[in-house]
Amino acid sequence: MEKTGAQILLECLLQENVDAIFGFPGGAVIDIYHHLPSYPALRHFLVRHEQGAIHAADGYARATGRVGVCLVTSGPGATNTVTGIATAYMDSIPVVIITGQVPTPLIGNDAFQEVDIVGISRPCVKHNYLVKDVQDLAWIIKQAFYLARTGRPGPVLVDLPKDVLQAKTVPAYPESISMRSYNPHLEPNRRQLRKVVDLLRTCRRPLFYSGGGVISSDAFEELTWLARNLHIPVTSTLMGLGAFPGDDPLWLGMLGMHGTYAANMAVGHTDLLLAVGARFDDRVTGKISSFAPMAKVVHIDVDPTSIRKNVNVDVPIVADCRLALKGLRDEIMACAEASDWVLEHQSWLEQVQAWQRDHPLQYAFSEEPIKPQFVVEKIYELTKGEAIITTEVGQNQMWAAQFSRFHRPRSFITSGGLGTMGYGFPAAIGAQVAFPDKLVIDIAGDGSIQMNIQEMATAVSCNIPVKIVILNNGYLGMVRQWQELFYNKNYCATCMHTNPDFVKLAEAFGAAGFRVTKAADLEGVLKQAFALPGPVIVDVVVAEEENVYPMVPAGAALTDMLLV
């Protein structure tokens, strides 16, 4: 039977097991919206700004590991997603973005709401398509989902001209995909794995440095097994938080610019750095020439371009992280002479524990003003790591990463690579849609939350009970911190003392709002907020000039930390 392009698109989405679409309609995509009610399995969530749609699709993808879907119209609808596409690209998140386009005969004529979104998005997508013929639609959608979720995942954009959506054809849905130009290499090379085993035998101070790739490849169990059985301490990037239990004695916390003392010192002293699904980002390495100066480096990554991009590697392994770690476990189990890993790493672990003991994360408690770190600790205490935590970007993000603990993959959702303010709230909406019964909390700053605050209307109208906790210090805190430390306290353009009343704002949107100013009141209010069935803003007035420590100044070696 003949179907229109719009119908074929929706059927393709069903075949990809899509159950949520975050979108905003417009002239170029009305045909899709016209048919959408006939496909009730495709739940549509109407956002208030297209950036909210792409971040929500991204949050859905991070929370589930499945492909998130975002649907927007041509022109401004499409360009409004670009920040979110770049966010997903930098953090390797599988998202399919469907954009409307003006009818094919008008393309290139500067038609109303026309923009070359395929050209604009090209540097920040894994791949993109302009569909010019309805016959191509079904295989392109299948390929788009396949590309988004396989290999190193990423965003894939499909641009659909209006006449293609209206054209009719008898659809032919492809069964399988074969692409001569795309074959990600997933299986680890056994010889390389044996080299790692040899290094493990001779090293005395090994360290796991895990990243987002451990989460996207579901390598949590393999990493945990290896670390625990070989007695290797674990640090991770911001993106890797949750890839190893945060309450394990081998856990050192995050490394990098705001990493823990123990993690950064361990990097400075390790003799075997096992980098898994991480990419040696500048916020992680600090001064690159002083990064892990004594270490042999093993680098496991599914993307060959990550390897030797920033640092030299002794044993490169291009493979899926889970398969590589599983292979490593098999090689170790097959070893004839079993090593006594406990004994061999004993003095190293003692050293690491001494660093942890001597310089733990700390702050000076105060009843009023409340310290932001205390708020994060309290949230963790109340949720016991069972909640999904999202963050905005800046100090709120670093405190959330430092003072919370994450025990499961996909329980911490944050914009790492791009550092997109305004990400956390819509991402929380996406995560909550995926897990309606879970507690989803956006730890926000007063600056960041205002970047996508309009999504309160989405949360209220779709009854998405996300809890927003604003660490309200009246500043764009991270920039202010840099101004304080490196720019003579010249607080130019970082003061936010004319913030809106977030409680009234919540109420204006039809949500609940609370304000807390004293530490003693915090627990009660948070409990009350978390128990409410709808979206809530908790505005916590915190110390204005609290800084995130430790801090490695930009360009300094990791071991040169400012501790207070």
Binding site: V118, G119, R122, M179, S181, D303, P304, T305, R308
Partner: protein, 161 residues
């Protein structure tokens, strides 16, 4: 160091901008770029010459391979290969100098492809050093126009040690 990369791509709209955008977006250089269809339908071959140290070239090759529309990348630099460019050059050739221009053309085995009262257009093929040599010889007569392809290159059938 100059590298010659042979890049086999799916011949579809946008593939050139994906490749070129990769170079500009990541701060790599393109010295010359040549694209044309291959004998296999749907595939085009790009020959790109670029400058960079080994680490940069390694990144360029990996990044090219990562593009979904790129089928194969071969760095021909350290292989034995044949390398050619073609130049069309319109040189002043007044009565006094015409014989000399033709003599140079003959020595370099150029073809005269257009003759005017005051100028000759020559077609020159060769590797970069040959083209550099003849161009510098012809410049003193006055070059009116100049068009040049990028390098194309193929691996030699026999690779001698």
């Amino acid at each position: 160091m100059r590298h010659v990369l042979s890049v086999l791509v799916e011949n579809e709209p946008g593939v050139l901008s994906r490749v070129v955008g990769l170079f500009s977006g990541r701060g790599f250089n393109i010295e010359t770029l040549n694209v044309g269809p291959t004998l296999e339908e749907g595939l085009s071959l790009m020959t790109i010459t670029t400058l960079g140290d080994e680490a940069i070239i390694e990144q360029i090759v990996k990044q090219l391979r990562k593009l979904v529309t790129v089928v194969k990348v071969v760095d021909l630099t350290h292989l034995q290969k044949v390398e050619r460019e073609m130049v069309l050059i319109k040189v002043n050739a007044e009565d006094a100098s015409r014989a000399e221009v033709l003599r140079i053309a003959d020595i370099f085995r150029c073809k005269v492809v257009d003759v005017g009262p005051n100028a000759l257009t020559l077609e020159i093929t060769g590797d970069q050093s040959k083209i550099k040599a003849i161009v510098s010889l012809l410049q003193r007569f006055g070059v009116k126009e100049f068009a040049r392809t990028g390098t194309v290159a193929l691996r030699r059938a026999m690779q001698m040690d």
